[in-house]
């Protein structure tokens, strides 16, 4: 109890100091020397990411995300550090910030959120990394490392994909995306971020729910991801910091803005597109969950039924897959993919007559189908019987 009290006092002191810093000296423009170099490096790394084909291009969604970000910071901070929120087509649970205020949010984490308050909590955390110059502090800490060791040192806990991620993100991005910062800096990002969320009128309890939910999902699906918001201990720390903040500030349940409907309307396409990414990556349970969430919002979308059918087909549940493809066709009889998928199911079990009917419809609907040659081959086989 005594330890919790001391921790609480320390936490409060950090929070007060941090918010004072944020309010009184928000000039996060790069200074000279190493910070300027860090910003230049960040800009070069962002150029590579932005040209990689991984950007999720949806101007309306971007405008919405940037609008939420603007609600979180006072005008003088925004004047010095004009934040930009971008979305990456990536099904993994993550978001990360570059020191110059450019924040990337993965479709994977957006698809798991339920409302604007949860989004605000995530953005506020990332924005604090920028306003409080965490990248600069981290690089100063690593300054004495040899360049070859620096990345290794800051990613030593990250399982797998290091080479791939370093290639794409560069060292600044990899530091922000994979390891996050030291425990102290992450706690500062939490504490200041929570203050921003509360000050903007959002329900911070929703932020805690997001971290709890992500933690449960990681446990349930045994997710092993190398990212800050995809690792169990780091999410656990976020949850603990939330709880400590609630105790200190007497945050009440339901006492703030959630904006669930607006949020879900803005991100509903992300649910569908992210489920497709999960399906490609063979993360069937997550793809299914995303599609079911999407269908609860848009129950008449044939593409969602087709994708859910593909999840079932690829998992071996052919009967359920057929029913879902049938639903997709009922909603959109001109859908060639659903016809092809049912044809494949019949073809594989030797029901060539039925398969032929679906394949022929598929080709009639889409004469320039990219995998037309396969279908023609199946049809030739079907006609032999």
């Amino acid at each position: 109890m005594k330890q919790r009290l001391i921790a609480g006092i320390v936490c409060a002191a950090v929070a007060l100091w941090s918010s004072a810093v944020a309010a009184s000296s928000p000039d996060a423009r790069p200074g000279k020397g190493e910070e300027q170099r860090l910003w230049l490096r960040a800009e070069e790394e962002q150029r590579i990411i932005n040209e990689s084909g991984l950007l999720y291009e949806d101007p309306q969604l971007e405008a919405y995300l940037n609008g939420v970000a603007r609600k979180l910071q006072p005008p003088d901070v925004l004047e010095n550090l004009p934040f930009q929120i971008l979305v990456l087509k990536d099904p993994h649970l993550n978001a990360f910030a570059f020191p110059n205020g450019v924040i990337y949010v993965h479709t994977g984490i957006l698809a798991r959120m339920e409302n604007e308050a949860q989004l605000a909590t995530l953005l506020a955390h990332e924005m604090t990394h920028c306003t409080h110059r965490h990248a600069l502090k981290a690089f100063r800490r690593l300054k004495n490392f040899k360049p070859a060791n620096a990345f290794e040192a800051c990613t030593q806990d990250a399982p797998g994909r290091r080479g791939d991620l370093l290639t794409l993100l560069g060292s600044t991005g990899a530091l922000a995306a994979i390891t996050g910062y030291t425990r102290e800096l992450e706690t500062e990002a939490d504490t200041v971020g929570f203050q921003l969320v509360v000050r903007a009128g959002y329900d911070l309890k929703e932020g805690a729910r997001l971290f709890e939910h992500l933690k449960e999902e990681i446990e349930l699906y045994e997710i092993k991801e190398p990212f800050v918001f995809g690792t169990h201990p780091k999410l656990q720390k976020r949850v603990e910091n939330c709880k400590r903040f609630f105790e200190l500030h007497n945050v009440e349940e339901g006492s703030g803005i959630k904006n669930s409907e607006i949020f879900l309307e803005k991100v509903h396409r992300v649910l569908l597109d992210n489920a497709q990414l999960d399906l490609k990556a063979g993360r069937f349970q997550m793809a299914r969950k995303g599609l079911e969430k999407y269908l609860a919002l848009k129950p008449e979308d044939p593409r969602a039924y087709y994708l859910l059918g593909e999840v079932c087909r690829q998992q071996g549940d052919q009967e359920r897959a057929k029913a879902l493809f049938g639903k997709a066709i009922a909603l959109d009889p001109g859908n060639p993919d659903a016809h092809k998928a049912i044809g494949l199911i019949y073809y594989k079990v030797g029901e060539r007559g039925r398969a032929r009917r679906f394949f022929e419809t598929c080709l009639a609907l889409s004469p320039n189908l990219p995998d037309r040659a396969y279908i023609e081959g199946y049809l030739a086989e079907c006609k032999k019987e």
Binding site: D164, K280, A373, Y374
Partner: protein
């Protein structure tokens, strides 16, 4: 997968793995396949992979891989299995590559059935960009034979290099012969 291979290559280089000149008939150490290698190329052999290059593997290479079908991939959790259609195997390879974040601007140009050594397989042609924006083109053939998956690919910088050695690759491909477990 592409990047993973580059890392493997770099590792082997630093470990002083020898590049050996090749030419003529070649049988894999597993005795599962044989192939006729072009003259004046170099080879690097790593466990189940045979890497060939003439101008250096960062510009062009031919890679022949044999892998157990149940071996997990690096970027998709899907796995190959016996009885899979060639189209399904091709889609899995596309999913694996497109789930790799280091492969930029991945585009499938062609996806069609192919016969390799008389067996049903697939042919993919795709492009991607490296970190510096250089476009690479790959022609990728795959077949499942018994419990093994064989991938034979030619990758080169699209500009100048790809066309230069495509015929050599085709002659390597036509000489590819499986020694056992014929199916399909």
């Amino acid at each position: 997968m592409i990047k993973k291979f580059s890392w493997l290559f770099l590792f082997l280089i630093t470990a002083c793995a020898p590049w050996l000149p090749v030419g003529g008939p070649y049988e894999s150490p597993s005795h599962r396949f044989s192939v006729v290698l072009p003259e004046k190329w170099m080879k690097l052999r790593a466990e189940h992979d045979l890497l060939l290059s003439k101008d250096g593997p960062f510009l062009q290479y031919v890679l022949i891989q044999e892998r157990p079908i149940d071996r997990p991939f690096g970027h998709t959790r899907k796995t190959l299995h016996r009885g899979m259609l060639a189209q399904e195997a091709a889609q899995l390879i596309i999913d694996e590559i497109s789930s790799d974040r280091s492969v930029n601007d991945f585009r499938v140009i062609q996806n069609r059935p192919a016969r390799i050594n008389g067996q049903s397989g697939f042919e993919l042609v795709f492009t991607h960009k490296n970190r510096d924006g250089l476009v690479f083109k790959t022609r990728y053939y795959g077949i499942i034979a018994g419990d093994w998956f064989y991938a034979i690919r030619y990758n080169a910088a699209e500009r100048h290099y790809f066309d230069k050695d495509i015929q050599t690759f085709e002659s390597i491909l036509s000489s590819f012969e499986l020694r056992e477990e014929k199916t399909g």
